[in-house]
């Protein structure tokens, strides 16, 4: 392929040739000849030709390649296929030159734009001797959740003067998943004033913090003195403690707003980012307590994860959250109408939404409250993100803020626990605020 430089030189040569004929000037024609010879030599003998080849995943390495393939091959290996936000992935790219000619290669391993190269480099210029291979290693930091793909590997071979080059994309891709970052909520809830924070809770046959008696057992170091059953001690002569039945909620429904409007604000600081992180943290917390958690995301369609318990459920929820895309504008009322028949009465519902651009919000939440659901709304404020990013002028901010405050007050009057979640506020603080602690 001609570079801009060679195209310009070629055009200059043609122009000089024609001008030389017009002006009967042999110097101009000579310059044109020299330029053309220069270009031709670079084109014919610069190592710009065949880089065509294949790219394969590292898992498919089969050892011996057998016959030389007259080509360059690329293979990639990742340290992990699943990480959390702000986590790192180590990438090893193996480049092989199967031909008998050394090549100067420009290799760029395509990394998603949102990722940062922490160490090493994904863009390498190297001289790869004949029938040799080299390993390129680098680490990427993944600051945002999502499904990502590394690749293709772009390889460029050009002549020393940069006149001609040949580019080839080696289609070797490695997919990986970045889960939303989670905040540890345990402390907040344990320290809350009310041990059972959600209505609709049921006792499950399992020892743990709670109010109902479960069984007696022997005293172990570390047990609270308050839990010692003195009458049992008097009877048996051994220190015995009361075990209580753990208070737990039956179902938790997390509703995440992933409409297009939820991505208003900077890429790394917007309502959807905050909502997914909050949903992930809440799911981890509740599933850690062996509760049953379900997830609904709505944007251009309503996607739901059925209620379930355990680590597998956490993985399913995290995967759904990682893939939540800001699209569409389905109103909350549609979601409510769809899920109402399927959820247990009294189940706590946590809605994560910026509450913008949806005229049905008040009615939808009223429907929940009318059926005695415990509704908590955590609302990351898109206005704050926009204002912080200086995309919103002060007057506009004030007007929109007032409208938002009015909406929040209206929702609060319905009995919804609601918190205007500002960007710098921790999730635990926002939750505590919503519950009025």
């Amino acid at each position: 392929m001609w570079s801009r430089k060679s195209a310009m030189l070629g055009s200059l040569a043609v122009a000089m040739y024609l001008l030389g004929l017009t002006l009967r000037n042999s110097q101009l024609v000579t310059i044109a000849v020299v330029i053309f010879v220069f270009l031709t030599w670079a084109a014919l003998f610069g190592s710009h030709a065949d880089v065509a080849s294949s790219g394969r995943r590292a898992e498919e390495w089969s050892g011996e390649e057998g016959v030389a393939l007259n080509s360059v091959t690329a293979m990639r290996k990742l340290s992990s296929a699943r990480i959390f936000e702000d986590g790192e992935v180590s990438v090893t790219l193996r480049m092989q030159n199967h031909s008998g000619l050394g090549k100067i290669l420009e290799v760029r391993d395509r990394v998603p734009e949102v990722m940062r190269i922490k160490s090493g480099a994904n863009y390498i210029l190297m001289e790869l001797p004949p029938r040799r291979e080299t390993f390129i290693e680098y680490t990427v930091e993944c600051p945002l959740r999502g499904f990502y793909s590394l690749g293709p590997v772009a390889v460029r071979v050009q002549d020393p003067f940069g006149l001609f080059h040949k580019e080839k994309e080696l289609h070797v891709y490695n997919d990986f998943l970045v889960f939303p970052k989670m905040e540890d909520l345990k402390e907040t809830f344990v320290k809350s004033r009310v041990p059972k924070i959600f209505t609709g809770a049921v006792n499950i046959r399992q020892p743990g913090p709670g109010s109902e008696f479960y069984s007696l057992r022997e005293y172990f170091d570390g047990d609270s003195f308050r839990s010692i059953n003195w009458s049992a001690y008097a009877r048996s002569g051994k220190l015995m403690v009361n075990e209580r039945e753990r208070d737990a909620v039956s179902d938790i429904i997390l509703i995440v707003d992933s409409r297009a409007v939820s991505e208003t604000g900077p890429v790394s600081r917007n309502a959807l980012v905050y909502s997914t992180r909050a949903a992930a943290s809440l799911a981890q917390y509740f599933l850690g307590r062996r509760d049953s958690v379900g997830l609904i995301t709505y944007g251009d369609e309503v996607v739901s994860v059925d209620r379930d318990t355990g680590k597998k459920q956490l993985y399913v929820i995290l995967t759904k959250l990682a893939g939540a895309m800001a699209k569409g504008n389905i109103p909350l009322q549609v979601v409510v109408n769809r899920i109402l028949p399927h959820i247990n009465k009294g189940s706590p519902i946590i809605v994560l939404s910026n509450l913008e651009d949806d005229p049905t919000i008040v009615n939808a939440l009223r429907d929940f409250r009318a059926r005695n659901f415990d509704v908590t709304v955590l609302s990351p404020s898109s206005l704050e993100f926009e204002f912080d990013a200086k995309r919103l002028d002060r007057t506009g901010y004030e007007v929109l803020k007032t409208e938002r405050d009015v909406l929040i007050s209206e929702l609060r009057s319905l009995g919804v626990n609601i918190m205007d979640w500002e960007p710098d506020m921790l999730l635990s603080t926002a939750l505590a605020g919503a519950r009025g602690f």
Binding site: R4, K5, L9, M16, Y17, G20, L23, R24, S26, Q27, L28, V29, T30, I31, V33, V34, I35, F36, V37, F38, T40, A42, A43, L44, S47, H48, A49, D50, N70, S99, G100, L101, A121, Y123, I124, L125, M126, E127, P130, T134, D159, P160, F161, G162, F387, K390, D393, R394, T395, G396, Y397, E398, D405, S409, R412, I418, M419, D420, E422, D424
Partner: protein
């Protein structure tokens, strides 16, 4: 009482706003009530010009380089050397006769002075552009060099200064013109190399790109800087000597025909050169049309 400014923070005084964090009052407007959009809120949109869109980028890239390292400094020194030689040769092979300014002013002295100024300007711009690594000055220098050679020459190579009597010997005159042309192309390449390697050096030092075996890559470039001009010069020499080579070949078959060719006005004029050049162009075009570079490379790889 209404306040003149747009300060709305007083609205929050003495009120408990449960939905808000304590910072709300701080955020409440302290500024004026103007509705102007802040400057930094307007995204910068760069629309490429017509030429930029044709070329796929700016004609003169604006890039800031880190201070030059040895690799770049060597190239700069080479460019200075070439530039001096090119300046002198340009002045010698491009007399003012036949230039546009000679036609405009009608005075040889004025045209000479202007021609000299153009050559000095080209060298000066080249020096500054190479030293400052500023593509704009280099582009200016290229244009001035080309401008200096644009003259009506009546198919004859004439010299402004002929200290060594080149004009008496056609072969030496051809060599002089070829050396001039090669130096001009070398200057284009070297000055461009200064920018290219400055970009590479900056990218390496800012860790945008990692370069394995830098010395080998640079030595390959240096080798090409010697080989390519030699070959270009030799081939150009052959093309320009068409009026000598062609009769010599024809002489093998017909002495009379060769004699006629040697005396042919067309063959010794610029049209003879153009004929040779056209032949080169056709060969080159044919090679590219047949995708010979790729076939040649494949053949070389298979052979090894």
């Amino acid at each position: 009482m209404a306040t003149k400014s747009g300060d709305t923070s007083h609205l929050y005084d003495g009120k408990t706003v449960r939905s808000a964090a304590p910072s709300r009052k701080k955020l409440a407007a302290k500024g004026s009530a103007g509705t102007d959009i802040p400057k930094d809120a307007i995204p910068q949109v760069e629309v490429p010009s017509f030429i930029e869109s044709l070329l796929g980028g700016p004609v003169v890239p604006k890039m800031k380089f880190l201070p030059a390292e040895k690799m770049v400094q060597n190239l700069q020194l080479g460019t200075y050397g070439i530039l001096i030689a090119l300046g002198i040769l340009t002045y010698i092979v491009t007399p003012a006769v036949g230039t546009i300014w000679f036609t405009l002013f009608g005075s040889l002295t004025a045209a000479n002075i202007l021609q000299l100024f153009i050559v000095i300007g080209a060298v000066g711009c080249g020096f500054w552009g190479t030293m400052a690594r500023d593509a704009r000055f280099l582009l200016g220098s290229y244009i001035l060099f080309i401008l200096s050679v644009m003259r009506f020459a009546s198919s004859k190579v004439s010299l402004s200064q002929d200290l060594f009597g080149f004009a008496d010997n056609d072969f030496l005159l051809t060599i002089l013109v070829v050396v001039y042309a090669v130096l001009l192309v070398m200057y284009f390449e070297l000055s461009n190399g200064v920018l290219r390697f400055s970009m590479l050096d900056t990218s390496m030092r800012t860790r945008e790109v990692y370069v394995m075996n830098v010395k080998k890559i640079i030595s390959k470039y240096h080798r090409s800087l010697v080989i390519n001009p030699l070959i270009a010069g030799t081939l150009a020499m052959m093309v320009l000597s068409a009026n000598t080579i062609l009769p010599a070949i024809v002489r093998l078959f017909s002495e009379q025909m060769a004699q006629r060719m040697e005396e042919s006005v067309e063959l010794i004029s610029v049209y003879g050169v153009a004929l040779g050049t056209l032949f080169v162009f056709l060969v080159v075009g044919g090679l590219f049309a047949l995708d010979l570079p790729t076939h040649l490379q494949s053949w070389r790889e298979k052979r090894d």
